[in-house]
Amino acid sequence: MAHAVLTLTDRGLYCAAGDFFIDPWRPVDRALITHGHADHARPGHRRYLCTDGCLPVMRHRLGDVVAETVRYGEVRRIGDAEVSFHPAGHVPGSAQIRVAVRGEVWVVSGDYKVEDDGLSEAFAPLPCHAFISECTFGLPVFHWQKQAVVADQINRWWADNAAAGRVSLLAAYSLGKAQRLLHLLDPAIGPILTHAAVENTNAVLRAQGLRLPDTIKITPDLDRKAHPGALIVAPPAVLGSPWARRFGALSTGYASGWMQMRGVRRRRAADRGFVISDHADWGGLLGAIKATGAEKLFLTHGYTDIFTRFLRDQGYDAHVLATEYGGEDGAEAEDAGDAA
């Protein structure tokens, strides 16, 4: 029987052959990081290893940590393990991590989406024996429309608001989702304003060569009436806050995969919900899993119980992996800091 390349410990996924952890949630000596979101890149490790595209954001969040970087596809030998990072398509710089030990190949997906968003390096499936996959949206009710369709909806909403003399407030997670939306906006409609949390991440990503439209950072002395027809990109926490009310007549939009569910959207009290996610939808997950050719599957954050049972029905050797990424399910996964 094939040996286990990775095992689950109380600190996270551990590779004994290379004596390292992947996205650990408690401090360890050596951490390999799939991407810079808070539930995956945590503070307190002695050494970090990540892609060169991931490091600036990680440093922005965690400070001056001891870190080494690799390029996508570059193979590193750590102990008895061969390690390489491959695009996950989740956010710029995000990776799947491939670990090979004596011919046995395991892949940790991190967070991923299969549609090429034109900003992140595009996801490509990796053949492996065991695949550790996220399944945030692992229910057959989640089907994403093409990005261009959602971009149209957002731009039309913005243009309608601008014509009606309303400011548009688009709520999205500051790292990743916000930049993806900026990338989809049509700057011809009006000026784009950004909340400081979004703009700080923009600065980091622009510095590493990402092309984003021009934005105006919202500061306390900004003349809020000087930007008619503007669209504001801000973190979800500002919805309904005094910060948002100062802009006068607003239409609010919320961009997230959870907006697929009316109940969640109504709870968010946004005028519009735009269904767009940096995670794979139902079809995306099933397609990605099949493409790896993996015999063994481990499922993390999302509807793991349900998704795992379905995969078993389909004949896969599938198991739930109780990790501490994100929320277990539901809208609070976003509140926990995961970019859904």
């Binding site: 229910l139 057959p140 009710v141 989640f142 089907h143 697929q260 569910m261 009316r262 109940g263 969640v264 109504r266 709870r267 009290a269 005028d271 519009r272 509807y303 349900i306 049972r309 379905f310 029905d313 929320g327 277990e328 399910d329 539901g330 809208a331 609070e332 509140d335």
Partner: protein, 529 residues
């Protein structure tokens, strides 16, 4: 269906009342009459008869989506809305349809006469020709649960805008016993004779909870009555027949045979407003006694003897066929008392007594006696006020007693529906009996969204066992449960049933051993039951 689905989308995408009304008014200005009539019917709770069971719909949806039924059911538990779950799991439609709303409703109605296989084919064909929103609307029509943030009041306002008619007059026209089968848009909305239907009730005047007593001015401007815990009803005697309408616009005449004699007792052209209560000869029986009556369409003799119903009348809306609603309450009340005095002995209607008090302090002292009077508190009504259409601030106020409360431990949790899908909002609570926690009530309201979010995260991490959608959780959290009344109930494990239980406070300052006991609950029962 496109026009109606577009209306649904606009309404669903805004939280602003003005935008909803504008969208509805635009719809009422453009849609064909048959669609308008059905739209009015849908938003006033008159849905087409359910053509298929939800069990069959689930089977067909899972089959069409190519997923096992258990996965469909699990998805439904997450989404919290059956019509929406079906719309989301189905593969993209291969066709489209120009059929309007009444076309699809007629298809549903035709289905009631066909066999199971024909129904299935009709539904599958429909799903394959409708986009996701149209499917959602179609499924809502199929499953009969149409709630989309439009009250009858909003719909009536929009209809008034679109037709240029008076809103109150329209509200009156939309009351009573009609369906799209028995009328047309022209007859219902435009015909000259608005009183054609002798059974038609008036729109009920409704009250808000009192906010600021000090702002109400001198107590002498007001009239107080006990607030009874019964069924609000209009009793209509016209053309020699009697009609009893609930506030939910349900015709309940046949459920209360003891009131039938009022057809002869009351002068022709009389409409009374009041509360139906089960009556022990001197005071109302607990609501539970009345509840047994409501669920029965025909009443067995024994029940009729155990829980005889009377009307405690407090308003006179029509006398001698004339609409009195614009007359001041004090006049209406005087005429009501005169009318009731003239009734023969033993008539199943009595005046709900008027409570007079010189000042608010005295009234407050009277209110404190409400439980002994088997009432929930007081109603206070401005003596000079007309009988308004619907809920309006200013002239009628509810002044209820503070609820009874008990500290209880949460032991089970279940996810909610609709807006609360995917959140744990429905809890079962227990009190101590020795070392054992005995469940005694459920409650699902009273917390903020933020609190529900917090408790949801906690439930996920502290689930001991699952029973389908229900999770047994670690007994840890104490909640102060408020309720309006308490009754003995052999159907409940604790032997006790509460009226209107809800969560008043999350007592994070209390540990489970500080929760109340069953003995304490029994003491409340002995005092107030």
């Amino acid at each position: 269906m496109r026009r109606f689905a577009a209306l649904f989308t606009v309404i669903d995408q805004t939280t602003r009342t003005s935008e909803k009304v504008a969208a509805l008014a635009a719809y009422f200005s453009r849609a064909p009459d048959a669609d308008k009539l059905w739209t009015i019917a849908i938003f006033s709770g008159r849905r087409p008869k359910r053509a298929v069971t939800t069990t069959r719909l689930r089977d067909w949806a899972a089959e069409a989506a190519g997923i096992p039924l258990w996965l469909f059911e699990d998805s439904y538990a997450v989404v919290g809305d059956l019509a929406e779950t079906i719309a989301l799991v189905l593969p993209p439609a291969r066709g489209a349809s120009d059929g309007d709303l009444s076309h699809w409703i007629n298809l549903l109605r035709d289905m009631t006469n066909s066999d199971d296989e024909a129904r299935k084919q009709a539904v599958l064909r429909a799903w394959d020709r409708l986009d996701t929103t149209e499917r959602l609307v179609f499924n809502k029509l199929l499953t009969g649960g149409f709630r989309m943030g439009v009250s009858q009041k909003l719909m009536t306002r929009a209809l008034a805008q679109a037709t240029g008619r008076d809103e109150a007059e329209l509200a009156h026209r939309l009351m009573g016993d009609w369906s799209p089968d028995t009328t047309s848009f022209a007859d219902l909305i435009e015909a000259e004779d608005a009183t054609a239907d002798l059974s038609r009730p008036y729109p009920f005047c409704l009250a808000y909870g009192v906010e600021d007593l000090a702002a109400l001015g001198p107590a002498s401007d007001w009239l107080a009555e006990w607030k009874w815990d019964g069924i609000r009803a209009q009793v209509i005697a016209r053309g020699g027949a009697l009609h009893i309408w609930s506030r939910g616009e349900e015709l309940m005449t046949d459920r209360f045979p003891e009131l039938a004699r009022l057809a002869g007792d009351l002068p022709d052209g009389t409409v009374l407003d009041g509360e139906l209560v089960a009556w022990d000869g001197a005071a109302p029986l607990p609501f539970a006694a009345l509840q047994k009556r409501i669920t029965r369409k025909t009443v067995p003799k024994k029940l009729l003897a155990e829980a005889p119903v009377i009307l405690l009348a407090y308003d006179l809306l029509e006398a001698g066929g004339a609409d009195l609603r614009t007359a001041p309450l004090s006049d209406r009340r005087a005429r009501l008392d005169t009318l009731l005095d003239a009734l023969p002995q033993g008539a199943p209607v009595q005046a709900s007594p008027v409570i007079m008090a010189e000042d608010w302090d005295r009234l407050s002292a009277i209110r404190a006696e409400a439980r002994e009077k088997k009432a929930e508190g007081l109603m206070i009504k401005r003596r000079a006020s007309p009988y308004h259409v619907g809920r309006k601030r200013g002239d009628w106020w509810k002044w209820k007693l503070d609820p009874l409360t008990i500290d209880a431990v949460m032991i089970y949790a279940q996810a909610g529906h609709g807006r609360r899908a995917n959140l744990f909002t429905d809890f079962t609570f227990a009190v101590w009996q020795g070392n054992e926690l005995v469940p005694f009530t459920k409650a699902y309201s009273g917390l903020t969204d933020a609190e529900f979010g917090q408790i949801t995260q906690w439930v996920r991490r502290n689930t001991l066992q699952r029973f389908g959608p229900v999770r047994q959780v670690t007994p840890h959290h104490v909640f102060e449960i408020a309720f309006e009344g308490i009754q003995e109930s052999p159907r409940h494990k604790s032997g006790i049933a509460l009226r209107f239980p809800r969560m008043l406070r999350w007592r994070q300052d209390k540990t489970v051993d500080q929760a109340d006991s069953l003995d304490h609950l029994r003491a409340l029962l002995a005092q107030y039951g």
